[in-house]
Amino acid sequence: MALDPTSASINSLSISIDAYGNAVDFEPVIASVSLGLHALGRWLNFSKNGPVVVDTSIWAESRDRVSRGRQDMDKTFHQLGNGLDSLMSANTICMKKAKASVRASAGSIASSSGESTTILAEAAEVCRRALRFTEAGAEHTNRIRLSLNELETFSRKIQQLGTEISDHMRPAEVVQVMLRIECSRLDEVARAPLEALCAEITRVCDRMNSTVEAEFELVAKTLDTVLAMTDFAEMLESRKQQSDLRRAELGDEMVELDQSAIELAERDQLLETRSASLGKAISGLMQAMQFQDIVGQRWEHVQDGFTRLAAASPNDPEAGWNAIVQQAQLDEANSEMAEALSSIEDGLQNVCRTEESLKDQLQATLADSRRQLMNVRMHAVLFEVWGLAKDNSAELLSIESLSAPLVQIAGKMGSRIGDVSHEMRIIALNAQIQAARFGSNTGLEVLAESLRHIADLMSDGGNALEGHARNIERTAIELRSEFSLIGKDCGTVLTECDVDFPSAVEQLLSQEDVCNRLLQDALSSLNLLAAARTQMETCLSLAVGHLEDIAELAQACDDFVEKHYRGEQSVQTLIEAKSLDLESARYTMASEKEVLLQLAGKPSPATENAKATTGELDLF
């Protein structure tokens, strides 16, 4: 394009419409004659080497590129808006689920209400009673042991007495033989009472034999009972140890559960913080996204400027001023958009961090919920202790059935031996009468004496045996009383432990299952958040690409301005003159005024103030 310095200088002074079509007052410029003459001189000097050819197609091309950039950015921000929509929705879902799952987990451990607490309380009570029973069981065990020792001693004494009585029976058998010899020497009439005596001795001997057999039976039963009771006592002891072990385990479980409850409460608090942080990130994203509108308007203004530049004479200082302004505006707008995109990136990174934190918290809670199975294990332990009480109760019945005949037999033993001894005395007396009848030279006197001696021995043995039998009876009664106490304790435990343990454990398992499902669900919902964030990140990359295109364009404009206009005195003079008249120009956006004032080297406190108060309500 050919440049005519004269016409250009005249045109530059006569133009009264600025590059944006608004009326501009050039009075200060015209008034400043020396400045104008200087500008004219510079302009003439600028063109002293003759017409310069400048290719201004850059402006039309720039206008089109800014227009495309704006449209692309609009589309991308629309998609970003969709992403934000998804992000907000995912945020609501994720936070709701995360909080619900963590609170449900906390509730399953240590909440002050709900079924699990009731079950725990019942189970703890059952455990307490069961443990008390096993302790009481130990006391019973000791007493039973003492009784069993006594029983064993008595039974051994009875065994000894039985042997002694058997020894005493032998002379009676000899007397019988002697009597039969005596009978063979007598006539039928005389021998009749002796034969009767002999038969009586045989009968008493038989009774004594059967009594001795009964003694042995008593001893055998006592020993059986001792054996069975010893086993039972040992079992009680072992169960007590088992219960003590479980009780210690329960203590550990309770400590861990308490710790877990504390951690869950902290996690719940942390979720609140994360929720607030995510809300803040979303708020930041919303604020940053408004720059699509703000920068869009600035790009629109620049686009208008490029349109005017495309139509203007390139050698006109006005065009130079306009080009510098548009380039500066474009740089500023790009910088503002870059800042907004950077804020969006920060916001998305914050979302990403929140996602990771949520994931960590939920996974930790999930791990915790596995620990919550301690609840179930605790109940299993309680169940075991309860089972021990139940076993004790069942075995008690068989032990009681064992001790019952012992008491019965022992009770009869004493009287039976006393009876036999008494009968033997009568026989001895009878033998004495018969001896007197037959005369002192017969063997009957010896016989009577032997029988009396036997009766005495049997009486003594019977008395001792009766004493021992009574002792056995007493001990057996004591044992039954102990068993009765144990039975009562067992009964109490079993009655009070009417909680359906298997069902309670099943309930807890089901509760844990629900918590775990909630946590898994919350973890899965994080995918929604991640998907929305990824969608926004993709849009952000596109937006950065669009901005890079416009920034590249701004660089080309800058090169052009540098080459053709910047540093030219006439243009610089025009800038200074125009900057005095900013209020009448169409630079109403605070940020645009800022650029113009910067170009003119003038500060703008009012604009700074306006920037600081964005978003605040200014009531009229």
């Binding site: 808006g81 408004q290 509108d293 956006m589």
Partner: protein
């Protein structure tokens, strides 16, 4: 208490952001692309608050305020100008047209919610 609010802006993103913010605070939000569209939307119905941009095609925000104030049913309705403009002259025009207040973009969501609460008496 939920309010019925119309947001008028030629930028879809802005309408969306205002919508997110106010719906999130429990309000009902209507949308219009410019002054003319807003008058169309508001024909035969009232709202508790109008939030409008200033620079818009077809009919700008200042003109919209004038037109609404001319209607008896909108004489006492709060109208906020939400704009990138911060020019005192424009503000003066807005005030003279009958706007209730002015908010310069960009806003933080809680700032807008607070402004709405203030002018609607929440």
């Amino acid at each position: 208490m939920a309010k019925r609010i119309i947001t008028v802006d030629d930028a879809a993103t802005m309408r969306r952001l205002v919508g997110y913010t106010l719906r999130g605070a429990g309000h009902e939000v209507l949308e219009a692309e410019d002054g003319e569209d807003a008058l169309r939307v508001l024909a035969g119905q009232t709202v508790d608050l109008v939030i409008t941009d200033v620079n818009m095609p077809n009919m700008d925000g200042i003109e919209l305020v004038r037109r609404l104030r001319a209607k008896p049913q909108f004489q006492s309705t709060p109208i906020l100008l939400l704009t990138t403009e911060s020019d005192p002259e424009k503000k003066k025009q807005g005030k003279e047209a009958g706007a209730t207040g002015w908010i310069t973009k960009p806003f933080q969501p809680d700032q807008l919610v607070a402004a709405v609460a203030k002018v609607t008496g929440l």
